[in-house]
């Protein structure tokens, strides 16, 4: 049984495109990244999976159940963290967390306390007194306190300081080791590359790629960095398949997806003091896909 499976999932908002013909599969126990530019359809996909919006066509199964027919059962096993955390302004943090647990009819006090301590969250403050980062922490606790089988997290670390980001991912990795499926939608590609085992890239409502992060990061494209003893950028004009050219004085950097032999022949003729040819990271792959 897959944690998430969509079949030709499509959503239109009137005439505006949401997502088109999406076939997404996330295995149980996976740590999965969902990447795409603004407006690509990531939030639309997530909202359909949570039953917040209905698809125009297609279907979605979460934990083996159809979201249109067994929404409440699915949501009892899902923890969701939205990109913008909004709660009842005059409630205290502890009351919001308890309210969330009570709606699930579960006693989550022990786990909630542990999470609050690890995230350094003051439970006595009122929601309207909290910074964005602290509201995110409340959102994390509400999403994770009931030990869900599937965690869906939309831009989870935006607003968190680096220490908290590390602690947050440590918590997710522990959950993943215990069998939970983690589904993260993120713009921070370095995080996806570092923590996720698989990832999907979405653009303009369509799935462009779905593979392991290792394979996604492995392409024929190379990042080439050169430093010359003089100006060298002008002498690269003969190279085809050159993207993302960045010039900084005598230093040049670019993405190259052409013939390696042609590249080496061109570099051999340049007055270079240093050169490196590396695999591009996932962020560069992402730029390559929609740049």
């Amino acid at each position: 049984m897959d944690a998430i499976r969509t079949n030709s999932l499509t959503k239109y908002y009137g005439r505006a495109r949401g997502i088109t013909d999406m076939n997404l599969t996330v295995e149980q126990g996976d740590f999965f990244g969902f990447i795409g530019p603004n407006g690509a359809g990531k939030s639309t996909t997530i909202r359909i999976l949570l039953g917040l919006i209905a698809p125009s066509s297609g279907s979605a199964q979460v934990l083996g159940m159809d979201i249109s027919r067994q929404k409440e059962t699915i949501l009892s096993h899902v923890g969701y963290m939205p990109s913008e955390a909004s709660f009842y302004r005059n409630m205290r943090v502890r009351d919001v967390i308890k309210f969330s647990a009570d709606l699930r009819r579960k006693d989550c006090r022990a786990e909630a306390q542990t999470l609050c301590e690890r995230l350094e969250l003051d439970v006595n403050r009122k929601i309207h007194e909290l910074s964005l980062g602290n509201r995110k922490k409340v959102s994390i606790v509400c999403a994770l306190q009931h030990m869900p089988r599937l965690c869906i997290l939309d831009e989870p670390t935006s607003g968190l300081d680096p220490l908290m980001q590390r602690e947050f991912y440590a918590i997710l990795e522990e959950r993943s080791k215990n069998g939970a499926t983690i589904f993260v939608s993120s713009h921070i590609l370095s995080e996806v590359q570092r923590y996720c085992r698989h990832a999907a890239i979405i653009r303009e409502g369509r799935l462009l790629a779905l593979d392991s992060t290792k394979n996604l990061g492995h392409t024929d494209t190379k990042r080439v960095r050169l430093r010359g003893t003089g100006r060298i950028s002008d002498r690269l004009s003969s190279l085809l398949n050159l993207k993302d050219l960045q010039i900084d004085g005598d230093s040049v950097s670019f993405l190259y997806s052409g013939s390696l032999k042609e590249l080496l022949n061109t570099l051999a003729a340049l007055p270079l003091s240093d050169a490196s040819i590396t695999e591009p990271d996932l962020e560069e792959i992402f730029m390559h896909y929609y740049g």
């Binding site: 909202r47 949570l50 039953g51 917040l52 409440e72 949501l75 909004s86 709660f87 709606l103 699930r104």
Partner: protein, 262 residues
Amino acid sequence: MVMIRHELKEGRITLLIWTAVIAFMLSLCILIYPEMEMQMGDVSSIFAKMGSFSAAFGMDRLNFGEFTGFFGVECGNILGLGGALFAALLGISISAKEGREHTAEFLLTHPVSRRDILSRKLIAVFLQILFLNLFAVIITAVSIRAIGESPEIRPILLLFLAYFILQIEVASVCFGISAFLTQGGAGIGIGMAALLYFLNLAANLTDHADFVKYITPFSYTESADIIAGQCLDVKYLSAGLVFTIIGIGVGFCRYCKMDVLS
């Protein structure tokens, strides 16, 4: 119970303020009655002969100089209009409030159906209306005793019952409207309550607008009719019941199917 308790807690300040204000004004009106009665003299007959003004407020059929008649007119203004405004504000914010505070996403991603959430919110609204009206009854009873009057109880209780049903109807219709709003709505609620009040006044002024009485719930709270007839007007009540059911039904149908975008 979790959802009901939460809604009651969220709305407690508003409920206490409205209850205090309406109860205070009711009590004040009753407490000044003895003073008014002394000075009334022939004023009540003058009030009854003021043409359209008298007809609009039923003072051509009520004796403003007697406690029950006085209470019927004053109660209509305070508990009728005040209670309707409160009920409208409660009803219109049932689902619009979640949109305004962007809490719908938080609430609706818990394992509770939208139908259950809405029904508990509606129950919480009805409980708040019940609390306000019960408190008004108690304060009225205490105030009447304080001034030493012993009016007939039945018409007064019927008045309170009529206003309670009116508030339930107004809240239910506003609940139906609320499902189409993503935020705000206070203006719509207040406007609707005021419109229904003035529709009844207009219907009292002319014989050519009888159909309006089937639209506005203030028709079955007409104190002159209740005090004279010692009962509520079933035909207007039935129309009110239909609007109540339609309001609740529309609200549920719309909210349970709509896309929640934030």
